[in-house]
C-alpha cells in the first residue's frame, strides 16, 4: 500500500476544507487508513489556511510536517510559496493562478512577491492552472476548487471513477452535476 502526504493550502474562505475532505474520503473508499487535519476559528477569517491529508496502511500523525509533503495543492500563488518548503525533494506543487493580496500588502507594510511561478520552478516540480477561468466557462466560479482538485487528482492517484463517486457523495445535492463537470474539466486539462 502506498503512503501519500497531501496539503491543501489557500486563503480562509477559499474552500480548502471541502477539497481535502474529498481526497480523504476517496482514500478511505479504497481501503486506506486516513488522517486529515483542519483549521477552524479565527484563522479561517481570510487568513492563511492549510489542511493536511495523509493516507497509507496505518497513519499516526494527522499533520504533514516540513519536508514530508508529496503533493501540495494551492488555491493562491503567495500561499504556494509560503508552504513550498513542506515539499519532499521530489514532491509536486499544483498552483491555481490567482492572487489575493494579504492585508499586510494592502496597507503597504509588505510587497506581494513577483515571479512566484519562476521562484517555485527553480526548486520544485510545478503545475499551474487557471481554475477560475475554467469554472467561469462552466458558468459557476464557485466550482473552482473542484476544477483544481480534478487537475491535481492525477498526482494523487486513484481512478477517475473513484473520485467522481466521492464528489457525488460529498457536495450539496443541487451541485452534483456541475461539480462532476468541474472535476472533469480539471482532470482532462
Amino acid at each position: 500500500m502506498k503512503e501519500l502526504n497531501v496539503m491543501v493550502v489557500g486563503v480562509g474562505g477559499q474552500g480548502t476544507l471541502l477539497t481535502s475532505r474529498i481526497i480523504g474520503k476517496t482514500a478511505l473508499s479504497k481501503g486506506y487508513d486516513v488522517k486529515l487535519s483542519e483549521v477552524h476559528g479565527m484563522a479561517q477569517r481570510g487568513g492563511s489556511v492549510v489542511t493536511f491529508v495523509r493516507f497509507g496502511e496505518k497513519v499516526f500523525e494527522p499533520v504533514v510536517e516540513v519536508g514530508q509533503a508529496d503533493v501540495i495543492i494551492s488555491f493562491e500563488k503567495l500561499e504556494a510559496l509560503r508552504y513550498s518548503h513542506y515539499l519532499k525533494k521530489d514532491g509536486v506543487i499544483i498552483v491555481n493562478d490567482h492572487e489575493i493580496k494579504p492585508m499586510t500588502v494592502v496597507t503597504g507594510a509588505a510587497e506581494y512577491p513577483e515571479n512566484i511561478f519562476d521562484k517555485l520552478s527553480d526548486k520544485h516540480k510545478v503545475y499551474t492552472i487557471d481554475g477560475k477561468k475554467l469554472a467561469l466557462q462552466l458558468g459557476n466560479p464557485k466550482v473552482l476548487n473542484t476544477v483544481v482538485l480534478g487537475f491535481s487528482a492525477k498526482h494523487i492517484g486513484f481512478d477517475k471513477k473513484d473520485w467522481l463517486d466521492v464528489v457525488e457523495k460529498t457536495v450539496p445535492a443541487k451541485t452534483i452535476e456541475i461539480n462532476k463537470l468541474a472535476f472533469l474539466a480539471g482532470y482532462d486539462k
Binding site: V11, G12, G13, R21, G24, K25, L28, D33, V34, K35, L36, S37, E38, V39, H40, G41, M42, A43, Q44, R45, G46, G47, S48, F60, E61, P62, V63, E65, V66, G67, L78, E79, L81, R82, S84, H85, L87, K88, K89, I100, K101, P102, M103, T104, V105, V106, T107, A109, A110, E111, Y112, P113, K119, K123, H124, K132, P141
Partner: protein
C-alpha cells in the same frame, strides 16, 4: 461489519456521547470545542442546548446527573475557568447519572487568548482526566468516561486539544445503548455542600483519587508497548502520535488517564527502559509527578512548554536529525481579517476616524486591533471589555475615558458582559459601551444564542431584547443604530462619550456570513475617477487592493456589496453595480 467512516475528533466525541446513552447536554461555543454540540444536536435522543456561558452549562449537566441521567457539558479550556466554580464542588458531590465534561485545550493558540493546560485544573479539582489520541479513541474514551464516572462516583474530564478536535480519522460506529435512569433520592450529605457535609465528602474525594491511581494501573487505556528499550516514552493524547511517527520502534507507555497517574505502572515501565522521556505538550504535569517519585526522566529540558509538538521536533531534540530538503521562503504574513461586508468594520472605521480607543472582548471583532483599523487596545477574556473600561474610569477619572468605549459582541455580552454592565450601573459609571450585535456567535461559526430567537436544535424561542435588557438593569441611555449607518453612528458615539451618563450603543447588522446576507450589489471602481488617495484602503476590506498603476481595484468575487467603501471615497469613484 460496523460502518467505518471518517470523522472529525469533535464529531467522534459527539458520537460517543450518543452511543453512551447520554440524555442531557449543555455547552457554550468555543473553538476548538464547538462542533461537539453541533454534531450532538443531530441526535434526537439527546437533549442538547447552548447555555449563555460555561458555568451555566456545567450546572445544567450537574442537575441532570443528580436527577439520575447521563449528562454532558463541553467547552474550550478558558471556558473551564468560567465553569470552575461548579467543577470544584461537583468533584465533592460526585454524580448520580454519569457526567462528563469535555474540555478542549488549544496549544499553539489557533483561536484563543492563552495556552492553559486543563490537566492542571483536573489535578487541583481532583477530577479524573482522560486524554484520547485520535477520533476512534475519542469515541471509545467518552464511553469509558461514563462508566468510570458512575463506578467511581465522580465527574470526569475528557481533555482534547485542537489537533484532535479538528483532525479527522477513521471511526467504527456502534449503536446507542440506552442506560436506565438512576433513581433520584434526596441525599443532603452528598448533594448539599454546606460545611458539615462537605467535610465528609472531602475524605471521599481523596480516597477516590487514591483508589483510581492504584486501579488505573490495570486499565486498558493505559497501554504499554515494549519494543527497543534504549528509550521509553511516557506520553498521551496527540503527543503519542508524534512519538509513534518519529520513533516507531521505541517502547511507549501511552496514558489514557492523565489524572491521577497510574504510579505503579509508570514505575515499572521506568525500570524496564534505559532512559525515560516524557512527551507532553504545555505544562510538565506528568514529568513533575514522576520526578517527585524519585524517578529520573527527560522532558521539558528537551521540549518547549509552548505550542504544538511535531515528530520533526522530537527527532531534532533527541537525535539531532532532520530530513528537510528546502528552506522556508520569506513571504508577507497573511493574518486573519474581518470578512468583506462585516458590520464590525463599519463600526471600527468610525471609531478609527474619531480616534477612539476601545476596550475589546472575545470574538471576531478582536481583529479590530490590527492595522489599518487599529481601534482595540485590550482583550482579556469574555466580558472583560466592560469591566476593564470601568476600572480605567475609576483609576483615571471620567475625562480620561472620553475617547474610550468598550466593544463587545451580542453573544459575549450575554455570556458575562451583562454582569459587568450591572457593575457599571451600580457603581455610577459614565462610560460608553458598544454592543456589536451581529445576531449570532460569529467567530466560532455561527451559533444561536439567547437573543437570536432560535435554539441549538433550530426551534423557535423567545429572543431577549438587548436594548430592553440594558434599560431594565438601569442604563439611562440606550441607542440602537444600524451598524452600516456611519453618519448616525458617528453622531451617537460622539454624544455618548462626551455625556456625563452611562450609555449603551447597540450597533446592529447581521454577520456577513449568515445565510442570505449578501447585498444585491457589488462595488466597483471607475479608474478614471480614482485619485489614488488610498482612503478606501483604510477600512481594511480584503476585497479592496491597489493595482500596479496605484489605482484601487475591487475584487467582485470577494465583495459582499455592503457599500462601506463608498462612504470613504471623496471623489465618487466607487459605484454600486449589479451582481
Amino acid at each position: 461489519m460496523a460502518d467505518k467512516i471518517i470523522m472529525l475528533g469533535n464529531e467522534a466525541i459527539a458520537r460517543g456521547v450518543y452511543e453512551a446513552g447520554v440524555k442531557v447536554s449543555s455547552a457554550y461555543p468555543g473553538t476548538p470545542s464547538t462542533e461537539i454540540s453541533e454534531c450532538l444536536a443531530k441526535y434526537n435522543e439527546v437533549y442538547t442546548e447552548w447555555a449563555p456561558n460555561e458555568k451555566v452549562a456545567l450546572e445544567v449537566a450537574i442537575g441532570a446527573s443528580i436527577s439520575g441521567v447521563r449528562s454532558l457539558s463541553c467547552m474550550k479550556h478558558v471556558g473551564l475557568n468560567v465553569a470552575s466554580d461548579p467543577l470544584y464542588t461537583f468533584s465533592y458531590t460526585g454524580v448520580n447519572g454519569g457526567s462528563v465534561i469535555v474540555v478542549a485545550d488549544d496549544p499553539g493558540l489557533a483561536s484563543s487568548q492563552n495556552e492553559q493546560d486543563t490537566r492542571m485544573i483536573g489535578r487541583s479539582a481532583h477530577v479524573p482526566v482522560l486524554e484520547p489520541s485520535d477520533s476512534q479513541e475519542a469515541k471509545d474514551f467518552v464511553k469509558f468516561a461514563y462508566d468510570l464516572s458512575e463506578k467511581y462516583d465522580t465527574p470526569v474530564i475528557l481533555r482534547t486539544t485542537t489537533k484532535l478536535s479538528h483532525s479527522q480519522g477513521v471511526v467504527e460506529l456502534c449503536d446507542r445503548v440506552e442506560v436506565a435512569d438512576k433513581e433520584y433520592q434526596r441525599d443532603v450529605k452528598k448533594y448539599v455542600m454546606m460545611p458539615g457535609s462537605a467535610i465528609g465528602r472531602h475524605v471521599v474525594v481523596e480516597d477516590r483519587e487514591n483508589r483510581l491511581a492504584e486501579e488505573s494501573c490495570g486499565f486498558d487505556i493505559n497501554k504499554v508497548e515494549l519494543n527497543d528499550k534504549k528509550i521509553g516514552f511516557v506520553t498521551s493524547g496527540v503527543s503519542y502520535l508524534y512519538v509513534k511517527e518519529a520513533f516507531p520502534n521505541a517502547s511507549v507507555l501511552k496514558l489514557g488517564l492523565v489524572n491521577p497517574l497510574p504510579k505503579q505502572l509508570i514505575k515499572k515501565f521506568a525500570s524496564q527502559v534505559d532512559r525515560l522521556v516524557i512527551v507532553e505538550e504545555l505544562e510538565p504535569v506528568i514529568e513533575e509527578q514522576v520526578k517527585s517519585w524519585g524517578i529520573a526522566c527527560d522532558g521539558k529540558n528537551l521540549f518547549t512548554k509552548q505550542g504544538e509538538y511535531s515528530s520533526n521536533m522530537l527527532k531534532k531534540a533527541l537525535l539531532n536529525e532532520s530530513d528537510v530538503a528546502f528552506d522556508q521562503v520569506n513571504v508577507p504574513n497573511r493574518p486573519p481579517v474581518l470578512c468583506p461586508g462585516c458590520p464590525h468594520r463599519s463600526v471600527f472605521s468610525v471609531l478609527n476616524k474619531l480616534k477612539i480607543h476601545a476596550a475589546g472582548d472575545i470574538g471576531c471583532y478582536t481583529l479590530g486591533a490590527v492595522a489599518p483599523l487599529s481601534v482595540i487596545d485590550t482583550t482579556i477574556c469574555m466580558g472583560a471589555s466592560i469591566s476593564a473600561l470601568h476600572g480605567i474610569e475609576k483609576a483615571k477619572g471620567h475625562d480620561f475615558i472620553k475617547n474610550w468605549v468598550a466593544v463587545i459582541g451580542d453573544s459575549t455580552f450575554l455570556h458575562t458582559g451583562v454582569n459587568s454592565l450591572i457593575n457599571m450601573v451600580y457603581n455610577k459609571s459614565k462610560a460608553t459601551v458598544m454592543i456589536l450585535d451581529n445576531r449570532t456567535t460569529g467567530m466560532t461559526g455561527h451559533q444561536e444564542h439567547a437573543a437570536t430567537g432560535k435554539t441549538l436544535k433550530g426551534e423557535d424561542t423567545y429572543a431577549i431584547d438587548l436594548a430592553e435588557l440594558c434599560k431594565a438593569i438601569g442604563v439611562p441611555y440606550v441607542n440602537v443604530v444600524d451598524a452600516f449607518d456611519i453618519k448616525e453612528l458617528e453622531k451617537v458615539i460622539k454624544q455618548s462619550v462626551e455625556s456625563e451618563t452611562l450609555s449603551v450603543i447597540i450597533a446592529k447588522a447581521p454577520c456577513a456570513l449568515l445565510k442570505g446576507q449578501k447585498f444585491p450589489f457589488v462595488c466597483d471602481v471607475n479608474p478614471d475617477d480614482c485619485k489614488k488617495c488610498g482612503m478606501c484602503l483604510k477600512i481594511g476590506c480584503p476585497a479592496i487592493s491597489k493595482g500596479a498603476d496605484g489605482k484601487v481595484i475591487i475584487d467582485s468575487t470577494a465583495c459582499n456589496g455592503c457599500g462601506l467603501c463608498l462612504n470613504y471615497c471623496k471623489f465618487g469613484a466607487i459605484k454600486k453595480v449589479e451582481r
